[in-house]
């Protein structure tokens, strides 16, 4: 329990401290220290879960179960590595005069606050607090997206705010309806929104209300997941914000939003006894995968391109969870993990590459492998991993998803085949040109932080060949929990 509290109190404390002294030179290191603290707390928590099993805290308002334990660790871990990446990245940005001391303070404190909101969203047992934390996560990142105050970043932030605000408002409506349904079964108490309670009585929840509630929740949280056609904020926000923020948005926030959708789906499935929720998710997932693939093939901006790739992968996960069943759910969870590892690694590499080139336009980034081979290889391997090349873990999950789909939903496979092919062509043709060939780029003034890139890729590689037993147990238990 102490570890659980520490997990989100550390970033909260970090946010307060860094809000005051974030402009100092050592703030960069302090940021890493706080993230490390969070990660260590999460690791300690994980160790306890491994030995003791699920636990609750603060009057059952917070809990850890197989579905969120690995996400908590993952979030803390990616938060840590992104903070390590931020050090050289933000230093270069400061050198270029893009970051004033005030902005540095804002950046570091918001970064910690963002970790805090995500961890709360993941660990809370209360669907209401989940909503509050999701909204707070939007609010903390929206100022980070516009931190450069360029017209484009303002526009992106505005769209991010309004679209996600409206989305999240729909999710609130859904939560209200959920509460209404729970109210009739559990009674009007503060515990009626506790997920563990709801899960127990999910069979008795009223199907009419729950189907309505799920629509609002899916559309609401789905906006944050980046499902087509409510994805429009995503590429803009990813492309215009600082790269560390793109990394955590893609790697973590989308996961958390999808996590919220899954929690809601479990309840809806229990109430409805029909594949209604799954079918909706299949539809959205498939639409996202296909549309994102076509979006991908017209990109010029590297971060925008990988943002669309995130949409594609979130769509794939949604599709997997929509299909349900032990294998597809397992695959979806695995995909969540490896996608956030790989995608953040790619954004790290892209961040350094874009700083070297002084632009995010892909045509002007060339021959990375010549100037800084490590960045080049990082980008190349990361892209191959995200495109589903084995032995990286993304392939493992895509393997399971596609083979299951072939028998469960054979009509969907041609679309998936088309989309994966188009996405491959789109991404790889550009990455190859960026990594290979002649170059006019210059090395960076500060050594790039490549440890996170290769640690992430190494982990993704490991997950493709070996999944640790306890992780496997969690995945399987969570898959059973999600059912379908």
């Amino acid at each position: 329990m102490d570890a659980l509290l520490l997990v989100f109190l550390t970033p909260l404390a970090g946010a307060l401290v860094l809000a005051l002294i974030g402009h100092r030179a050592y703030a960069r290191d302090l940021n890493v220290v706080f993230s490390l603290g969070t990660f260590l707390a999460a690791a300690a928590l994980t160790v306890r879960i491994i030995s003791d099993g699920p636990l609750f805290a603060l009057d059952k308002q917070f809990f850890i179960d197989p579905l969120n334990v690995f996400l908590v660790t993952l979030t803390a871990f990616v938060g840590l590595s992104t903070s390590i990446f931020s050090r050289p990245y933000m230093r270069v940005e400061q050198d270029h005069g893009k970051m004033t001391p005030l902005r540095m303070r804002l950046y570091f404190s918001m970064y910690q606050l963002f970790s805090f909101t995500m961890l709360v969203a993941l660990m809370t047992n209360n669907m209401g607090i989940l909503w509050v934390a999701m909204e707070a996560a939007t609010l903390t990142t929206v100022l980070l997206v516009s931190i450069y105050r360029t017209p484009a970043s303002l526009e992106a932030a505005w769209k991010y705010f309004i679209l996600c605000g409206v989305g999240i408002a729909q999710a609130l409506f859904g939560t209200i309806l959920l509460y209404m349904a729970a109210d009739r079964v559990i009674g009007d108490s503060a515990d009626a929104l506790l997920w563990t309670n709801l899960e127990v009585v999910k069979m008795q929840l009223d199907p009419t209300i729950m189907s309505l509630a799920f629509i609002f929740l899916l559309l609401g949280y789905g906006t944050k997941v980046g499902l087509v056609p409510v994805h429009n904020w995503l590429p803009d926000a990813h492309a215009e914000g600082p790269t560390p923020i793109s990394a955590v948005l893609s790697g973590l926030l989308l996961n958390v939003a999808l996590y919220a959708v899954i929690r809601c789906k479990v309840l809806t499935d229990g109430a409805l006894h029909s594949p209604f929720a799954g079918n909706l998710m299949i539809g959205f997932g498939l639409l996202s995968v296909v549309a994102a693939a076509f979006f991908l093939s017209r990109q010029k901006d590297v971060k925008r391109m990988f943002a669309y790739s995130s949409i594609e992968h979130m769509g794939l996960m949604t599709f997997a969870f929509g299909m349900g069943g032990p294998i597809a759910n397992f695959a979806g969870l695995l995909h969540m993990t490896v996608h956030s590892l790989v995608k953040s690694a790619i954004f790290f590499a892209v961040g350094h590459a874009a700083q070297q080139a002084g632009t995010q336009i892909m045509e002007d980034i060339k021959g990375l492998i010549k100037v800084t081979p490590s960045v080049g290889w990082g980008l190349m391997l990361g892209s191959l991993a995200i495109l589903g090349m084995p032995p990286f873990g993304v392939f493992a999950s895509e393997f399971l998803i596609l083979t299951t789909a072939m028998r469960e939903l054979p009509w969907a496979t041609p679309f998936l085949l088309l989309a994966l092919g188009v996405a491959f062509a789109a991404i790889f043709s550009r990455v190859q040109e960026m990594v290979f060939g002649q170059t006019a780029l210059k090395p960076l003034a500060h050594p790039p932080a490549l440890l996170p890139v290769f640690v992430h890729l190494g982990l993704a590689l490991m997950l493709g060949l070996y999944i640790p037993p306890y992780l496997d147990v969690w995945y399987r238990q969570a898959a059973r929990l999600i059912g379908g």
């Binding site: 076509f294 493992a396 070996y466």
Partner: protein
């Protein structure tokens, strides 16, 4: 035995890792690591050889997915392909020891790593006994070879070639994956053992077959999916081209055999016909394009397409026989296929290595700038001649045996119960004969233009012969070409357990019945071929003629200038060019090719003539697809048109739509 094989694979990976450790130590990498890799390949070949007749062995590695660790199985089919990988790989590695040069570009250690990972992943592909392990090995193979292809990534064409290669390989891999999805039949059991247990309905079995055909066909270079091959193979360094063409393409054949004859129990006759037709089209297409090429490596690449076509046709015939329960004949067709797999592996590797030596000696790939090299590079030239003969299907070399077996199996089709097929198949046999003859044309052009005649450029006179490593590698492969051609029965003994595993019949018994020297797959009355006697006959007749002429007349020879037809200003450039040599074929098969010609007008003072040959498929299939995707992407792109009101409207409409759905 499987432990030994795994040890060998691990050793390859180890050599690769050592390569990374010795990233820029050229001498170490070239003189020690590559020969070591060759030695390991040899060990693999021996291990595979001893595993061939044994019962299948199974191993489970502790890596993979939690419920699905890597299952490996060493049975006859995989042992046969391991033999090819090991034996051909050994020769190519030894050649590579002398081939890679120090200089800019990819560090030698990295190349070494990619190269050995490529070898190891190919071995893993044929060992894999579950879908996941197979796919991991399969894609690793594609990836390793992609990096090898793009070793010289500063050239935009090479990058394009690499991209096209990996794209098609990846799409094919997804199709294979889906095929496994069908085969596991929702049981959640991805092991091949589990798939063998399933009994699929004809619909699903056909779906699996078609997906496998698409997936493996993409890798093999089957007709509409062949476009990457003539781009990627020439782009790669020569040992890599040799590995890709000689060995990697065979893994696709392996996959097709594995799926069709091991994992699927149902065989429908139209599968065989489909394969036969596609194979034939591929072969014909490949050989016609090979004859009109002007780049030596492209010519060989197209020739690989042709050979793959023949292999596919053989598999198709085998399937056809199998679907009618004629297992002995299916075994004959499959023996032809497997024999050709071996023979193509060796002669095509040999030829690609030879082009590598030529490339090193002359820095020239264009046939129009080569010529007369037999005098300056006798080793390479004569060894290549062996490959050329094998490739043209001339007796008594290895290529002829497979062709002979294939034609024999075609001649048995009258036994088929379907009259329509009975009529269809002789035409196929005739066309196969046409393909074989055209292959001879292409190979004469290939060898004649490079090695014979006068050097077309002055600097060719300074070309040097290959180094000792290169010679050794080529010698090894050439020895295989000759040995396979002369002792086909020996090879058939090895193939026997494989066909026995696939269709329950084998040729070894009959083949052995008439003596080691005589190849008689069914009975000696029906057909027989004795390559040793054949060779002895030719040699005896030629030598006798030689000796007798010496004895009775004289052996005096006078050297003089060639006859110049009374036109004393002959230059080497007056020789027939590569274009000229291909011209008759170009004329006959004009509809096959997409010709773009620029002709000079009679009044031109500086006449200029240019012909560009293109692939119809590129214009009729790939460009429309790419345009279609571009169009769709443009349309989809309109969704994201910048206006926040519109975005809100999407959300609004989606909400209303879903509410409307739920209200009903």
């Amino acid at each position: 035995m499987i432990d030994w094989v795994l040890l060998v694979i691990a050793a390859w990976i180890g050599v690769g890792v050592l390569g990374i450790a010795a990233l820029r130590q050229f001498k170490l990498v070239a003189r020690i690591l590559f020969p070591l890799g060759g030695l390991i390949g040899l060990a693999l070949a021996f291990a595979a050889l001893s595993a061939l007749p044994r019962a299948p062995e199974i191993a489970i590695l502790p890596i993979g997915l939690p419920q699905l660790p890597f299952h490996l199985r060493l049975d006859s089919l995989s042992a046969f392909f391991l033999l090819i990988i090991g034996a051909a790989g050994a020769g190519i590695s030894v050649f590579a020891a002398g081939y890679f040069r120090q200089g800019a570009g990819t560090p030698p250690g990295l190349l070494c790593c990619e190269y050995h990972l490529f070898l190891a992943s190919m071995a893993m592909v044929v060992l894999a006994d579950d879908a996941y392990a197979f796919m991991v090995a399969w894609e690793s193979m594609a990836l390793a070879s992609f990096f090898l292809v793009t070793a010289n990534h500063k050239v935009p064409e090479i990058r394009d070639a690499g991209f096209l290669y990996l794209l098609i390989a990846h799409i094919g891999a997804i199709a294979i994956l889906l095929c496994f999805g069908v085969l596991q039949a929702n049981s959640g059991d991805y092991t091949f053992a589990g798939m063998r247990e399933q009994s699929l309905s004809p619909f699903w079995a056909s779906a699996a077959f078609l997906l496998a055909l698409f997936g493996f066909g993409a890798k093999a270079g089957m007709l509409p999916l062949h476009v990457w091959l003539p781009e990627a193979h020439p782009a790669a360094p020569s040992p890599v081209s040799a590995l890709m063409s000689g060995v990697m393409l065979k893994t696709a054949i392996y996959g097709l055999l594995r799926v069709c004859f091991d994992l699927l129990h149902l065989h429908l006759w139209w599968w065989g016909v489909t394969l036969l037709a596609l194979g034939l089209a591929t072969a014909l297409f490949g050989v016609v394009f090979a004859t009109v090429q002007t780049d030596m490596k492209r010519l060989l690449a197209y020739s690989s397409i042709e050979n793959i076509g023949l292999l596919l046709a053989a598999i198709g015939l085998g399937l056809l026989f199998r679907s009618y329960g004629m297992n002995a004949l299916a075994a004959l067709a499959l023996t032809a296929c497997l024999f050709h797999v071996a023979s193509h592996a060796f002669f095509k590797s040999l030829l690609f290595l030879g082009t590598g030596s030529v490339l090193h000696a002359t820095s020239e790939r264009n046939l129009g700038h080569l010529g007369g090299l037999l005098r300056y590079m006798p080793w390479v030239g004569w060894l290549m001649l062996v490959g050329v003969f094998a490739s043209s299907g001339l007796p008594p070399f290895s290529g002829f045996v497979s062709e002979w077996l294939l034609l024999q199996s075609f001649l048995f089709t009258p036994g088929l119960p379907d009259p329509f097929l009975n009529m269809f198949i002789p035409i196929v046999a005739a066309l196969i004969a046409l393909v074989a003859a055209l292959a001879g044309y292409a190979m004469v052009k290939f060898f004649g233009i490079i090695f014979l005649g006068q050097p077309r450029e002055e600097n060719l006179r300074h070309a040097h012969d290959a180094g000792p490593w290169e010679k050794a590698g080529m010698l090894w492969l050439a020895a295989w070409c000759i040995a396979l051609g002369l002792l086909p029965n020996l090879m058939i003994q090895f193939i026997d357990p494989v066909t026995r595993m696939m269709v329950g019949e084998g040729l070894a018994k009959q083949a052995a019945a008439s003596g080691w020297w005589l190849l008689a797959p069914t009975s000696i009355e029906r057909a027989s071929y004795g390559p040793v006697f054949f060779l002895l006959g030719i040699i005896a007749a030629s030598t006798l003629a030689f000796l007798l002429v010496r004895l009775f007349y004289h052996g005096h020879v006078r050297r003089s200038a060639p006859w110049d037809c009374g036109h004393p200003w002959q230059t080497p450039r007056m020789q027939d060019t590569a274009e000229g040599f291909g011209q008759p074929i170009r004329q006959i098969f004009e509809p096959f090719l997409r010709l773009q010609r620029t002709l000079p007008s009679p009044a031109d003072t500086k006449p200029f003539y240019k012909v560009v040959l293109n692939d119809h498929f590129w214009h009729w299939l790939y460009l429309p697809i790419s345009r279609g995707i571009e169009y769709l992407a443009r349309q989809v792109g309109r969704l994201q048109q910048g206006r926040i009101s519109i975005y809100l409207l999407y959300s609004f409409i989606t909400l209303l739509f879903m509410l409307f759905l739920v209200q009903r």
